[in-house]
């Protein structure tokens, strides 16, 4: 069974259509990437799942469920947690409180504050300070930790490498591979080829709101991948 499946999704902001018949699926244990340039509609795929962009054609399924109405909270409750673009750490809450917010679904599973601190020890040291005063890399850890607190089957990350130094991006790649080995599937939305190359096994290319290409990353070098995408 797929953890996430989009079937012919048309998504809109008000009257403006951004996604045109997008179909994709992510199965259990998979690490999948969506590649695409600025403004092609990558975040809109996430926003459609979250009921932020409106889906007027096609359907979105989370696991066995195909909700008739997508509310902001639907995906998280059905096991798909999002690490949003720009991280969206909630101001006015401490690091720990931001993590606890991620547990709102009360889904059972291995993740709690202690487990997240085990994965990102620096967050333990800074647990009681305001979330927004963390550095960019630490905020990304917090956003990932918060998503994990929902004990998701699938983790969706929207451009997590944005604004991070290359060393931090390397650590991020290791973390994502480790999480997937521990049983969390990964959907990585990125423009950073080397991160995608290190993390994903399979990719989709989005262009002007449509999937124009997809395939396996096995045996593909970063250079070849770049050429594929330079459409």
């Amino acid at each position: 069974m797929n953890l996430l499946m989009l079937r012919d999704v048309d998504a809109f902001y008000a009257q403006a259509q951004v996604l045109h018949g997008v179909s994709l699926e992510i199965g259990k244990g998979e690490r999948v990437a969506i590649l695409g340039r600025n403004g092609v509609g990558k975040t809109t795929i996430v926003n459609a799942m979250l009921g932020i962009a409106s889906v007027r054609g096609g359907s979105i399924s989370f696991g066995a469920e195909t909700p008739r109405r997508l509310r902001h909270f639907t995906a998280a409750r059905l096991g798909v947690a999002v690490v949003p673009q720009g991280r969206r750490i909630v101001p006015g809450l401490t690091v720990r409180e931001n993590l606890l917010l991620g547990a709102a679904t009360e889904r059972p599973g291995p993740w709690n504050c202690e487990a997240v601190f085990g994965l990102f020890p620096v967050l333990r040291e800074r647990a009681e300070i305001p979330g927004p005063s963390l550095s960019g890399g630490q905020q990304q850890m917090l956003a990932i930790g918060r998503a994990l607190m929902a004990n998701p089957d699938l983790l969706v990350l929207d451009e997590p490498s944005e604004g991070l130094a290359p060393v931090i991006v390397d650590e991020l790649a290791d973390t994502l591979v480790r999480l997937s080995a521990a049983g969390t599937s990964i959907l990585l939305i990125e423009q950073n080829f080397s991160l995608v190359h290190r993390v994903a096994e399979r990719y989709y290319v989005l262009s002007k709101g449509t999937i124009v290409e997809s395939g396996s990353l096995a045996g593909l070098s970063v250079e070849v991948l770049k050429k594929h995408i330079a459409v």
């Binding site: 979250l50 932020i52 509310r71 902001h72 909270f73 995906a75 998280a76 409750r77 999002v82 949003p84 969206r88 909630v90 101001p91 006015g92 809450l93 409180e97 606890l100 917010l101 991620g102 709102a104 679904t105 918060r146 929902a150």
Partner: protein
């Protein structure tokens, strides 16, 4: 002097209970709720009527309950449908509700001033450094402190409290984590309205009941909310105590200017800290 200060705290306490409801509602619904004065006034009248039949405490519980239900209805019928409208539209609608409530109360209860006696046990007088002071007024101060402490405990250390705080700064991100912010909003509006009922009923033995009592105290509550920083519960507490004191000192020493003094304080605070007491200038 001590008596004057205590009286300031009594009014400040009433203001706080009313204003903190406004802060809660503004936080989740981004609505400047003019109807809040009407809810306060309606709460006083409901409390008055039930109290004269079944005793003060039953009246208090009844008023709080009815107002909580009214809050849910208002959220459903007014705030939620108007969520995506211009805030001015919602504000005008809540102002309309205030006028309707005033007319309704005038029709049912009449224009005459009514007064409610304090409950038995709290109707005595206590001597404080040589002057007498009504026990009921001390109880009002204690209740305000209790509400402030209870709310702060709830917001700081409960799960729902965390969701309320998160949703008042970033509702979309909060909802993305799995929180049903619509239901949370209804709960919070209900609590805000219930607090208005509470404030109205406990004010009934202190202020003369009249249909316009809500509009009067509403202005001071808005001053408290704005001075405190709109979304800050601590800010509202500090501002309510300050305004309560100033209001009272004004009434005693410069009665002619008493109603202007809180406004002057608000302007001064905003010049010093444009985002209110709770937030430092960035």
């Amino acid at each position: 002097m001590l008596i004057q200060i205590l009286n300031g705290f009594v009014y400040g306490g009433l203001l706080y209970i009313l204003a903190v409801g406004l802060v809660l509602i503004f936080g989740l619904r981004r609505v400047v709720n003019f109807a809040h004065g009407g809810l306060f006034m309606l709460g006083a009248y409901i409390g008055y009527t039930i109290a004269s039949i079944a005793g003060f405490w039953v009246g208090l519980v009844a008023s709080v309950t009815v107002l909580a239900v009214l809050g849910v209805v208002m959220d459903r019928v007014v705030f939620r449908p108007l969520q995506d409208e211009d805030p001015i539209v919602t504000m005008l609608v809540t102002f309309g509700i205030l006028l309707v409530l005033e007319d309704l109360v005038r029709t049912i209860w009449g224009k005459d001033f009514l007064t409610l006696k304090p409950p038995a046990g709290l109707d005595g007088i206590i001597m404080l450094s040589g002057s007498s002071f009504p026990v009921y007024r001390l109880a009002v101060i204690a209740l305000a402190v209790l509400v402030a402490g209870g709310l702060s405990l709830w917001l700081r250390s409960s799960r729902v409290g965390l969701h309320v705080r998160a949703a008042s700064v970033d509702p979309v991100t909060t909802a993305m984590q799995g929180v049903d912010t619509e239901r949370l909003g209804a709960t919070v509006v209900a609590i805000g309205a219930a607090l208005a009922g509470l404030s109205g009923t406990i004010a009934a033995p202190l202020l003369a009941l009249s249909p316009s009592m809500g509009s009067f105290i509403l202005i001071d509550s808005f001053v408290v909310v704005v001075t405190g920083g709109l979304t800050s519960f601590t800010g509202a507490f500090v501002a309510a105590l300050l305004i309560g004191q100033l209001h009272n000192l004004g009434v005693v020493f410069v009665p002619a200017a008493a109603s202007v003094i809180p406004l002057v304080l608000m302007v001064l605070v905003l010049l010093w800290r444009p985002d209110g007491l709770a937030k430092k200038r960035s």
